[in-house]
């Protein structure tokens, strides 16, 4: 796939580009031995794209995911998110970006076990500084969006796996993030439930949500409109596919 813009250092991304990485590298110091997990990844993702990132283990897809999710900072290269260069922000600014721009969906759901579904969904709003009433209203709306309007006061252990992941999706959406970032979202689910979650993603995508999903399952990646495959820290292929 051709890049919408040939990006050079010093440029700013085009307005409709949500994610832009430019020669992104990440090296880890593993007890004196330097592991170069990413070796110069340049990728651009437009608003309302649905992208699957694939690759075998060790290909660097988790590293790329962490960088895109602003959980980590690159060794070199640039990362622009929603028109803002985030590759050189400090810890607190990254926390703010994570809060405002990114909605995480994890393989293991990562819900607080003792909190109700509603409270779990409220969490990002607490860190955004929203008032209690506004939090409840927005969290309730997000839960309704994923079809859990009647499960708000349930705790995670009172919900099925698919329902838990939908709570997590509601939590990811509650701040209206620029991107929904899903890391193996169906990895802990059976195929029927996986299908449900993929249906939720498809609906969100249709409503205009940009989705980046890391997976190693081809049939899950098949739901995405574009598949970026990594190998040895580099992009091996970048293909559009029929939905």
């Amino acid at each position: 796939m051709t890049l919408p813009q040939t990006f050079r250092t010093g440029d700013t991304p085009l307005p409709n580009i949500i994610i832009l990485t430019h020669k992104l590298t990440r090296a880890y110091d593993m007890g004196g031995e330097v592991v170069r997990a990413l070796q110069g990844v340049s990728v651009q993702i437009r608003k309302n794209e649905y992208v699957a990132v694939m690759g075998p283990s060790g290909s660097g897809k988790s590293t790329l995911m962490n960088l895109i999710g602003c959980l980590d900072t690159p060794t070199s290269g640039e990362y622009w998110l929603n028109g803002q260069k985030v590759s050189d922000l400090d810890d607190d600014e990254l926390a703010r970006i994570r809060n405002k721009e990114i909605g995480f969906v994890f393989q293991t759901f990562n819900l607080l076990p003792r909190a109700s579904a509603l409270h779990n969904v409220e969490l990002p709003l607490i860190y955004a500084g929203a008032g209690a009433r506004e939090r409840r209203a927005r969290a309730a709306r997000a839960l309704e969006r994923v079809g859990l309007g009647d499960r708000m006061e349930h705790r995670p252990n009172e919900l099925s796996g698919g329902q838990r992941q939908r709570v997590a999706i509601a939590r990811a959406l509650v701040n209206d993030p620029s991107i929904l970032l899903a890391d193996e979202p169906t990895g802990n689910l059976d195929s029927t439930t996986s299908g449900e979650i993929m249906a939720v993603f498809r609906d969100l995508h249709r409503q205009g949500q940009t989705i980046v999903m890391v997976t190693h399952e081809h049939d899950i990646a098949a739901h995405a409109a574009r598949v970026v495959t990594l190998r040895d820290g580099l992009i091996a292929s970048d293909q559009l596919q029929a939905a």
Partner: protein, 412 residues
């Protein structure tokens, strides 16, 4: 995250983990409870000393002429030996003073020694036998409940009459009236003419185990060598008059003893202030020792809380990673764990306050120690408790705040 959220979260965590939180707040609980309890005792004894003891038992505006001060903490041996070499107070000293005062005063002689009092086959041992003059009762605020005190005539003539303390009357006569019965002190028969109202006890020492007889009665030889007094008691009508009387007493005594201007007094003029100084000396020791005990339990409490918090941080690493991924900044995480540890400690301190108040009531009701609750100790207890929580929480909370979200999320 606003402080309110952090506190709400902290209380929620304590609620859901009652047992663990209960153990972790034990140290602070004990520290604060013992602080308040011990403070109450010191405070209570303090009040007792200044109000009841000084005012009632010693007597208002009263001083005593003695060979040496009555209450003296930490006196070196050399001073003791010097005191022991001093001349004793003589009857003639007392008479000279009585004649020499120009301010209106009430005076009494007093000599005391432990002895045994018997009535038929009943015996009361270790009774404080006091040979005193008739105004002794007035100065010491001893009200005679049954019968009467002896008169100055009886005193001068050395009548063999006795006024009993309540405990002695109880011991020897049980329910019968002791009036006009004959008790024996060292073989001599004394007619009981009165019983003094019950005095209770001070710091566990009973105040009713005494017998008062006239200063010149046969018992005078049991309490002191002939012509010698333990103390000469002087009660003035006001504080300035007492000072004046003290100056006069000092002058008279110095001239009677031919002391040169450079020489120190070789007698003591004790006031209730002396007693209070004595108590102040003891309470100073308590004030030094007490915070030590409280400090130890608070430090232990702090260490326990720190450990529990470190465990909590380890257990909730994933939660911390998640919160960070959702936008929690370092200071949000720091605040969350600080609030939690402060809340644990404050809840412990609150329980400690309740227990301390209970302890105070219990001590007041079930022990001879007078306990009086001090609001300062409650405020101090809560502040210290919460402070311990914050201090103990700093290290675990900063560890939590520094966690790398990626590593934290990966934690099983």
């Amino acid at each position: 995250m606003p402080l309110f959220e952090a506190l709400r979260l902290a209380l929620q965590t304590i609620r859901t983990q009652k047992l663990k939180s209960g153990f972790s707040l034990l140290g602070v609980f004990i520290g604060v409870a013992s602080l308040i309890g011990a403070w109450s005792i010191v405070n209570g004894v303090n009040r007792y000393m200044t109000e009841k003891f000084a005012q009632t038992l010693f007597g208002v505006n009263t001083f005593q002429l003695r060979r040496r001060p009555m209450f003296t903490p930490n006196v070196p041996d050399s001073v003791w030996r010097a005191w022991a070499r001093r001349p004793r107070i003589r009857f003639s000293d007392a008479e000279a003073l009585t004649a020499g005062f120009t301010v209106p005063v009430v005076t009494a002689w007093q000599s005391s020694e432990n002895n045994t009092v018997t009535y038929r086959d009943k015996t009361a041992r270790d009774i404080e036998l006091t040979a005193a003059s008739e105004r002794y009762f007035e100065i010491k605020n001893l009200r005679v409940a049954i019968g009467r005190a002896f008169t100055s005539q009886e005193n001068r003539s050395g009548a063999a009459v006795a006024v009993l303390g309540d405990a002695v009357a109880q011991r020897l006569f049980v329910d019968r009236s002791p009036l006009d019965r004959s008790v024996r002190i060292a073989g001599t028969a004394y007619r009981v003419i009165g019983v003094v109202e019950r005095q209770g006890s001070i710091l566990g020492f009973p105040l009713d185990r005494f017998v008062v007889v006239p200063a010149l009665s046969p018992a005078q030889n049991l309490v002191n060598p002939p012509g010698i007094l333990d103390a000469f008691l002087v009660k003035a009508q006001s504080e300035p008059e007492m000072r004046l009387a003290m100056d006069q007493a000092e002058g008279i005594m110095r001239s009677r003893r031919h002391l040169r201007p450079r020489q120190d007094d070789n007698f003591a003029l004790d006031t209730s202030e002396g007693v209070q100084r004595f108590w102040a000396g003891i309470s100073r020791i308590l004030v030094v020792v007490l915070p030590g005990v409280v400090l130890v339990s608070l430090v232990i409490g702090g260490i326990v809380i720190m450990n529990i918090m470190l465990m909590a941080v380890a257990e909730r690493t994933r939660e911390i990673g998640l919160r960070k991924s959702l936008g929690a900044r370092r200071r949000d995480v720091l605040r969350q764990f600080l609030a939690e540890s402060a809340a644990i400690a404050t809840v412990g301190a609150a329980f400690g306050v309740v227990a301390g108040i209970g302890l105070t009531l219990l001590i007041g009701a079930a022990s001879p120690l007078p306990a009086s609750l001090s609001p300062v100790s409650i405020v101090l207890g809560v502040i210290m408790g919460a402070g311990v929580g914050v201090v103990a929480g700093v290290y675990p909370a900063s560890r939590a705040a520094r966690l790398d979200p990626i590593a934290a999320l990966r934690q099983e």
